[in-house]
């Protein structure tokens, strides 16, 4: 089962963007975490070129009591607070650390270009 979802986030470089996500629920769900992936291109230190997301609740900290809603909320939270110290996309993370203003600008540009 896979269902595209749209999230609109306010108050960050991704503000106003409409990001498409793919949500895959494996057979063992909810005992194992769903697989979530960004389909829209995004400039974010914890999301790589293929849209894979580095998020604890999707991996080790998954619990069957979490729901799709909570997962999406966690992803929204990740968008508003990027964590370049635990990166998945190394180049983006480096950019973020060296020149945060510039990185945020790029992220904004990407949002305007792709997430419309």
């Amino acid at each position: 089962m896979s269902l595209p979802k749209r999230i609109i986030r306010v108050g960050s470089p991704y503000e106003g963007g409409k990001f498409k996500l793919e949500l895959f629920l494996p057979d063992d769900y909810p005992m194992v975490a769903p697989k979530v992936r960004f389909l829209t291109k995004i400039y974010h230190p914890n999301i790589d070129r293929l849209g894979r997301i580095c998020l604890d609740v999707l991996k080790a900290n998954w619990s069957p009591a979490l729901q799709v809603r909570t997962i999406l909320l966690s992803i929204q939270a990740l968008l508003s607070s990027p964590n370049p110290d635990d990166p998945l996309a190394n180049e983006v993370a480096e950019d973020w650390k060296n020149d945060e203003q510039n990185a945020i600008k790029t992220a904004k540009q990407w949002t305007e270009t792709y997430a419309v």
Binding site: M31, V32, P64, A65, T70
Partner: protein
């Protein structure tokens, strides 16, 4: 039945007692005694404290243990900590798991830190008590947050939080956990599931499964008598979806067994059966599974002290108990001194404690590794090279003949020579005949060729010997697989008791062990530089080989009646082999440990 008479241990009589007891199917009472004896017995990696030549063997002490015994050990440690902390076994188990069984650190932290915060950090509730009735039937408006099923449902929760989930989900959740420490499914809750709490869930689940089975049985009976209602038809068609996999498995096993029943090794089958039974139990009863996970986690963490038997399907462990020597303190040191720590698990599998491969005495771990690598690299290639190539007389690079013409030009050094006599081609121009054997030039060339291939030949020589014994070993093992059947036959035909026919099994056991020793001794020889000591070892080796063949010949006796008549011969031959084997191992050990023998450069 699990013990061999010739194992290196002190409690020989006890193990015999035990095997007799088992054979008489007098399991209950005798087994208990056996267990007590086994619990106290310390085994040694070598039989004697000193070799005949006076070399101290610095034996490694160990104890073959099973998961249940380790579980008991761990529970005793929990109880021990509990006597000091007075928190109850449940809390102490979680604390110890959290502290990786480091009780000293735990006690220190518990006395120096604020108990309240320590408890919170370790995922424990405000009180140690386990509440009763954690499994309850819910009110109708309850909704399980995991599977979204509506009430009324049976729910489970931990004592000190109110995160209730339906029993099905909780059970699946706990089964899915890899670690023994399982948290409450709610992400904001830090509490761990404690064994006492788990017990309630486990008991409930067990009862429910039993009830379900009974119910299904009844349904089945009803469906046999009288016409089916639509519900029964539904049940009938839905049920196999759940059960079919199990049933198929059962059927498979049965057909396998019937086909192999007579042939399959009784001993191995027994081990497998036990393992399956235990696994079944574990999967059925949640609490057992919990403790098994605790044990496995513990042994993995303490891998220096506990080693899992590497044999397939064997779940036994070996507990390391140190050395009976002041000089050697660790396994690494032991191996560095060229000793070989061979241990035997409760199921009779012998293996090396240091490298976890099968018994490989007298070869050291390094030799074994190098040998296996060499075999993998060289065997195929070198066989082909010897069969299809000759070396260039000038630069010694191997050359494959690619056409009919005997005028060869080396691709490396462009030397021109004759394929037949290996002599310089320039001599062949004036009607020179190279096919006469006594020609001086060609003789020289042939000799040169031989020396250049000598190392390859040396390798192939030892490899062949190794391989011959490996094949014999395989055949003998196959024979052993049929042995139980044969022993029964001997027993029935000759009308003797199981004990009296036991010599047959023991003889083959010692034969197998000696074949393994011989096999590895050839691999070892390959790496020895030739010296007087090597010649001496070779004689020991061939002596052992003679004894092996002598005993092996006895197994060709086929009419069962004759076998029992030859019992004396079996006993004398296997006893001779046994002492010869011991001596052989000791001699190799002396040469290796005392450095009387030097290795070739092939052993890096």
């Amino acid at each position: 039945m699990s013990d061999y008479e010739f194992e290196y241990e002190t409690e020989d009589e006890y193990s015999n007692l035990e095997s007799e007891a088992d054979s008489l199917d007098d399991l209950d009472s005798e087994d208990e005694i056996g267990d007590v004896l086994r619990a106290d017995s310390v085994h040694y990696s070598f039989k004697n404290k000193q070799t005949a030549g006076g070399l101290c063997t610095h034996r490694m002490r160990y104890k073959p243990v099973e998961a249940d015994e380790i579980e008991a050990q761990l529970k005793a440690r929990v109880a021990n900590v509990d006597t000091i902390l007075q928190l109850g076994a449940d809390d102490c188990t979680v604390l110890l798991l959290k502290y990786g069984w480091n009780d000293q650190k735990l006690l220190e932290d518990y006395t120096t830190q604020e108990p309240e915060s320590l408890r919170r950090e370790c995922g424990l509730g405000p009180e140690s008590r386990v509440r009763a009735r954690l499994v309850r039937e819910s009110e109708p408006q309850f909704l399980c947050q995991i599977c979204c099923s509506d009430g009324p449902l049976y729910t489970f929760q931990l004592s000190w939080c109110d995160h209730r989930y339906c029993v099905d989900c909780y059970v699946r959740y706990i089964r899915g956990g890899q670690s023994a420490l399982v948290k409450c499914p709610d992400t904001s809750c830090a509490l761990y599931v404690r064994p006492g709490e788990l017990e309630q869930l486990s008991t409930f689940e067990e009862q429910r499964v039993r009830q379900q089975e009974e119910h299904e049985n009844q349904l089945r009976k009803q469906s046999v008598s009288g016409p089916l209602t639509s519900e029964e038809i539904m049940a009938k068609y839905q049920k196999p979806l759940v059960d079919s996999s199990d049933e198929e498995l059962d059927e498979d096993q049965e057909s396998d067994e019937s086909a192999e029943d007579a042939l399959f090794n009784f001993h191995e089958r027994h081990i497998k059966q036990q393992r399956l039974e235990k696994q079944n139990q574990r999967n059925k009863i949640l609490l057992r599974r919990y403790w098994y996970t605790v044990v496995v986690q513990y042994t993995k963490k303490h891998f220096k002290t506990f080693k899992n038997c590497p044999a397939i399907d064997c779940e036994c462990f070996i507990e390391y108990l140190g050395f009976d020597s002041d000089v050697i303190t660790s396994v690494e040191e032991y191996v560095a001194h060229k000793y070989i720590p061979i241990v035997q698990c409760s199921n009779g599998h012998r293996f090396c404690y240091a490298c976890l491969s099968e018994d490989h005495a007298p070869a050291t771990c390094t030799v074994v590794q190098t040998w296996i690598k060499t075999c993998a690299d060289e065997t195929e290639t070198s066989h082909w090279i010897t069969a299809n190539t000759k070396d260039c007389p000038k630069c010694s690079s191997p050359i494959e003949k690619n056409g009919g013409c005997n005028h060869m030009t080396c691709g490396e050094c462009h030397y021109q020579f004759c394929w037949i006599c290996l002599g310089d081609w320039s001599r062949h121009k004036n009607n020179y005949v190279c096919t006469s054997f006594n020609d001086e030039e060609s003789k020289k060339e042939r000799e040169k060729q031989e020396t250049s291939r000598v190392s390859l030949k040396r390798y192939l020589f030892y490899f062949d010997l190794f391989e011959i014994h490996r094949v014999s070993l395989k055949k003998d093992t196959e024979f052993l697989a049929k042995l139980e059947h044969r022993v029964q036959e001997i027993q029935q035909r000759a009308k003797v008791s199981w004990i009296e026919a036991h010599f047959y099994r023991e003889s083959i056991d010692i034969l197998l062990r000696c074949r393994i020793t011989l096999m590895w001794s050839y691999a070892l020889m390959f790496y020895f530089k030739s010296s007087a000591e090597k010649g001496f070892l070779e004689r020991t080796q061939s002596n052992l080989s003679n004894h092996v063949e002598a005993l092996s010949k006895l197994f060709e006796i086929t009419p069962t009646e004759k076998v029992i008549k030859e019992k004396e011969a079996f006993l004398t031959k296997s006893n001779a082999l046994k002492s010869c084997h011991e001596k052989c191992i000791e001699k190799f050990m002396e040469s290796l440990v005392l450095g009387r023998i030097s290795f070739t450069s092939e052993l890096k």
